[in-house]
Symmetry: C2
């Protein structure tokens, strides 16, 4: 085994610095970098020790821990989902995570992952669509125009060549915000069509991205509006009892997932029998399972978000922040003069305090 020279202090990247890093590189280049990092790690899927995330639910939402490791690196993310948070001025989703060294357990990097979670989710969707959408797809319907919809729009224009966006949201102001933010990112208003219904949005779309704040079992698109050849990128349904697609539609789709043990609990396929056939994204990426095989298939990427995406994102972010000189030391765990003598910490601290 190679010797790695690891730091003995934890490096930190806060939320403001993470946003600055993304702004400097541009969201488009970040999405490219993330998709590349995620694809590379999905391509070596068997290297990882994987498990479904650990969720703790309350009336208002969910808090989750998402760990994963290979032989060398360990990563975990903390993430919440609380749809009512905006009433208290807090984001619906907040996330942070850490990278650690498997050989020593030393946490080497701690970072805000709120913005990066939004980017990695969109990058994973675009990555899946590269393998599953019809070649030459140019028009995407967006059902839901919240924060994640904006990152989805960016990812699909940047990574897949989507030229036209057909947007539907129950709230017109949310569509205004999306158009304004996409304008800032270089997507001209002429490329965005506001629609009066999901049916209208799906009309002529090659790809359908559903990314609503559905809180129950809902059907944000109608089965009858989905035509042969479409690729559905289902992002919004991501918890038990929280789905976006009608079950009749699922029965017409070839279904692709990140990690079956987690998706069967959290994804659209919680509506199907536990043994309903699905393909895994990593198998498609490595050529071990076919992606789309015919133009008239309806493909579905049932996205819920998997720990390996955060593993890849943390390593990508760590490298980017290091290159930018943005890492700050954080006293997250102690350095000991004699690693066998933990009590010495108390003695030294008492000594320092008495001299102060």
């Amino acid at each position: 085994m190679e010797t790695r020279h690891l730091p003995t202090r934890t490096a930190f990247l806060g939320a403001a610095q993470a946003a600055r890093l993304v702004a400097r590189h541009g969201p488009g280049r970040c999405l490219q970098g993330l998709a590349q990092a995620i694809e590379a790690d999905f391509a070596r899927w068997p290297d990882f020790e994987k498990s479904a995330r650990i969720a703790h639910h309350s009336l208002g939402g969910v808090i989750e821990l998402m760990p994963v490791c290979d032989e060398q690196d360990y990563a975990f993310k903390y993430v919440n989902g609380h749809p009512g948070n905006r009433l208290q001025g807090l984001p619906t989703v907040m996330a942070f995570g850490a990278l650690a060294d498997m050989a020593t357990g030393m946490p080497i990097f701690l970072a805000d992952l709120t913005l990066v979670t939004a980017l990695r989710t969109a990058a994973t969707s675009a990555l899946a669509a590269r393998h599953l959408a019809r070649p030459g797809s140019r028009c995407m319907a967006l059902i839901g125009a919240g924060s994640q919809a904006e990152f989805q729009a960016l990812a699909f224009t940047e990574l897949l060549g989507i030229e036209q966006l057909r947007v539907f949201d129950l709230d017109p102001a949310t569509m205004d915000k999306l158009a304004d933010n996409l304008g800032h990112a270089g997507i001209a208003a002429a490329r965005i069509t506001r629609c009066a219904s999901s049916r209208e949005a799906l009309d002529g779309a090659d790809i359908v991205t559903t990314v609503t704040a559905a809180k129950r079992r809902q059907a944000v698109i109608a089965d009858a509006d989905v035509r042969p050849g479409m690729h559905i990128n289902a992002v919004g349904g991501d918890g038990p009892g929280k789905t976006e697609l009608p079950v009749e539609l699922l029965q017409r789709c070839r279904i692709f997932v990140e990690y079956p043990p987690q998706t069967r609990v959290e994804g659209e396929i919680q509506q199907l029998p536990a043994d309903a056939p699905v393909s895994e994204l990593w198998q498609v990426i490595t050529g071990q399972a076919p992606g789309r095989t015919q133009d008239d298939q309806i493909t579905l990427f049932d996205s819920v978000g998997f720990a390996l995406e955060d593993f890849a994102a943390l390593r990508w972010l760590h490298a980017l922040a290091r290159d930018a000189g943005m890492l700050q030391p954080l006293d997250l765990v102690p350095a000991l003069a004699d690693p066998r003598d933990l009590y010495r910490l108390v003695r030294d601290a008492a000594h320092l305090d008495s001299r102060a």
Copy 2:
């Protein structure tokens, strides 16, 4: 439900500040406070959503996540165990954790827990022994004299009235370090007897604490040396394949554990059939199960460390640090001007950078 006024920024307590706080209050008072906090939370055991910790193993050790919540608060700890770390100048065990608000998912407190983990483990052992050891126990054998042994010695002298310590460690220098550190904490050398074997250490002991760095299935004390009426506090065996006690001894003991689904995998009782009878510490604390019922029983607390101890410890530490004015704001997750507009972070950061 009561309205709680929660901070919108995460508060941080680093390793140096945590040690300073412990030194100021004194380890004895900290152990008292922790035992009280842990007992109070164990007494309301059914309030918590519990699970076994999630462990990722490598050749060199293990990294674990330990989450738990009640209706109001969520806590998790990150902790590693890498016996070979001292060769690289790193502590064997490093830990940090966070408290979050269940209603919003906001992480309100992030802290080093390395020193606090050592303290809470010892406090839990002493708490268990209060219910399980013979009343009037005055002499404790310590098998293993590493860092945790020192905290165990402090906890049992402070919380249980132990007056005499009989210590055995394979390494005499480790026993020197223990005596030196205990001297600093006010335990006179005359109260510490160095023994040449575990048999000698157990001679006359009321309580036996095993806290070695056993890496395999070992027997650090002999079955024949354990006499009726002893209480055994087994701390060192805490992972699959890592035990300290001979199985014959287990068969003579009344066994008490923290959380059976975790202890059956990690504790001494991994050597017993999966349905071997055990009592849970919380049941004893609440009077729902008997502790020691006869003077000649051999009782065993099979300690592995449970998330609820860290939940209690984090809340205790948070209050202590707040009262001491030691909390520092940390930019762990973003504050958004409009919580529905995550992309605004990128725009604002770009704007700031362009003005810089």
